[in-house]
């Protein structure tokens, strides 16, 4: 279960999507997410779904791999679905017990919201699945650079993100190891009521925090030993460059956004 979280995981490959400039990928992903919420009708969402499936196909990341990333948030999707289904007032479709009613608007919102959430997760997973964490943060740094004028520490933020992303798998591994060690001592994380289960997390959380601090300290020391002193005057080994493919992808995204806006305001 803990290894099923695909968010922030890179799927190695050499597809057209993998080779895109990370800045373009970040911008288009944000645009795509915005488009998902602008899209207000069947055509809009269908187009969005089609687009993301085409991009997935081009990226050659197996759909099953992305779907596995959906598993952990499945509960949230179901939860929003149910809340929307019952809480939105409107024209009654079905009346249930205790005055619960399903309205036409409720059903519509619930379905749309669930589809949106799924597409949102697939879209953002695709970004991290096809972009190496390092290029991703390079992209973020480069995009934040203009904000340096108003004293946004772009490099430091990007470095923090790089480190955070870099250590997700390490900490997952550490968690896995500690869990196994405690299980070997007879710990049981699966049974009992919610309080019992929360309490059973202590034997994992305490060692995990200690590990995290130890890792952070060691990393800080290793970085200082190699003369790291922040972002001033730092050059990079792989400078990012926009290529023809990036512009084409950008234009395609703009076309997609155009369709979504047209659908919302003119149809």
């Amino acid at each position: 279960m803990i290894r099923d979280i695909t968010l922030g995981q890179y799927y190695p490959g050499d597809s057209l999507i993998h080779r895109l400039d990370p800045r373009i990928k970040i911008i288009t992903t944000i645009a795509y997410i915005a488009a998902l919420f602008i899209a207000d009708g069947f055509i809009g969402l269908a187009t969005s779904a089609a687009v993301i499936f085409i991009v997935t196909a081009v990226s050659r990341v197996p759909l099953s791999f992305i779907m596995r990333g959906l598993k952990p948030i499945f509960f949230i999707i179901i939860f929003t679905f149910i809340i929307n289904l019952f809480m939105i007032p409107g024209e009654t479709l079905i009346s249930l017990f205790w005055g619960l009613t399903i309205t036409k608007e409720g059903l519509r919102t619930a379905v749309f919201m669930a589809v949106r959430l799924v597409l949102l997760i697939i879209g953002s997973s695709l970004l991290t699945l096809t972009t190496k964490p390092i290029s991703l943060t390079d992209g973020i740094e480069s995009l934040l650079k203009p904000l340096k004028v108003i004293k946004v520490p772009a490099h430091e933020l990007a470095m923090m993100m790089t480190i955070a992303l870099r250590f997700i798998p390490t900490l997952l591994e550490e968690t896995d190891k500690i869990m196994k060690a405690q299980q070997a001592r007879g710990a049981d994380f699966e049974s009992g009521n919610i309080f019992h289960r929360a309490k059973s997390l202590i034997p994992i959380l305490v060692p995990l925090f200690i590990s995290a601090f130890r890792i952070a300290q060691e990393l800080a020391m290793a970085m200082e030993a190699r003369c790291y002193h922040g972002g001033d005057n730092r050059t990079r080994m792989n400078a990012m460059k926009m290529r023809a493919g990036d512009f084409v992808f950008m234009v395609l995204t703009l076309a997609f956004i155009g369709i979504i806006i047209c659908e919302r305001y003119f149809i």
Binding site: K180, A184, R185, G186, D188, P203
Partner: protein, 285 residues
């Protein structure tokens, strides 16, 4: 109570581009009361194998029978497996979490459902077995202890469960020579005291040669060699091919044997080596 491992295979990340076969059709048997060493370089499947013995990982195929129970059977209760088999991971001190040493050691026995008195007795006994003083340490925080002491406390946490099989995964990693020796002496003592099966994973060939009744050599997910230390360490070529080495004394005797076939090569401890060399020199006059 013996352990029979039959044809187990384990594959990580099956179906993904980075899928790896960690164990490939591994079979071996361990008899009651044996002290068994497992060697093999990093990535040979040792840790995966150990986790199977404890039921933390399930094999893709094959079975593991411990004292007559098949622990790969889904119907087998994990709690029963863990009561029988105690696994001490690498760097076990990183799993300490309680406020006091006594409470940390008591974690395992408590999970087994023992009573307060019984738990306390076990904690006392386990701390004694790992060479620590119960009265001195019981109320201390485990995080105040030295590295070697922390490790002993962590090992005590498993020993206190009185497992019939005690598995130690590189228990001496990162310790200084004295702590190294102490931990191994302790393992030997626990083995004698409890009369259990002890499985020791180590990269130190001299330790393996000194302590173990039998040695299993892992390579690329297979059992490459198995037998008494004498048998295993006589096949120098195979071991070097795998990337392992002989215990230093054995290495010396092999080299001497190459120079003069009168010197026996299958000697692993220093005293026997001394006698053999003296004998040879004496004969030569």
């Amino acid at each position: 109570m013996g352990i029979i491992v039959k044809n187990i295979t384990h594959i990580y990340s099956e179906g993904l581009p980075h899928e790896t076969t960690a164990l490939d059709n591994v079979s071996f048997e361990i008899n009651d009361g044996e002290f068994v060493g497992i060697i093999g370089h990093t990535g040979s499947g040792k840790s995966t194998l150990l986790q199977h013995l404890n039921g933390l990982l399930k094999p893709k195929s094959g079975s593991i029978i411990v004292g007559g129970t098949d622990i790969t059977d889904p119907a087998c209760k994990l709690r029963d497996i863990r009561r029988k088999i105690g696994l001490v991971f690498q760097y076990p001190e990183y799993q300490l979490f309680e406020e006091t040493v006594a409470r940390d050691v008591a974690f395992g026995p408590k999970n087994l459902g023992l009573t307060e008195e019984e738990t306390e007795m076990r904690v006392k006994e386990a701390l004694g077995l790992v060479g620590l003083s119960y009265d001195e340490l019981k109320d201390k925080s485990p995080f105040e202890l030295s590295g070697g002491q922390k490790r002993r406390v962590a090992i005590a946490g498993v020993v206190a469960m009185k497992p019939e099989v005690l598995i130690l995964d590189e228990p001496t990693a990162g310790l200084d020579p004295k702590a190294h020796r102490d931990i191994l002496d302790m393992a030997e003592e626990i083995h004698e005291h409890e009369g259990n099966i002890t499985i020791l994973v180590s990269h130190n060939m001299a330790d393996i040669a000194r302590l173990c009744d039998r040695v299993i050599v892992m390579d690329k997910g297979h059992v490459a060699l198995a037998g008494t230390p004498k048998e295993v360490f006589s096949d120098e070529k195979r071991l070097t091919d795998i990337g392992l080495s002989l215990p230093p004394v054995s290495y010396l005797m092999h080299r001497l044997n190459e120079r003069n076939a009168d010197i026996k090569a299958d000697i692993m401890d220093i005293d026997a080596a001394c006698r053999e060399i003296q004998r040879f020199l004496g004969e030569k006059g």
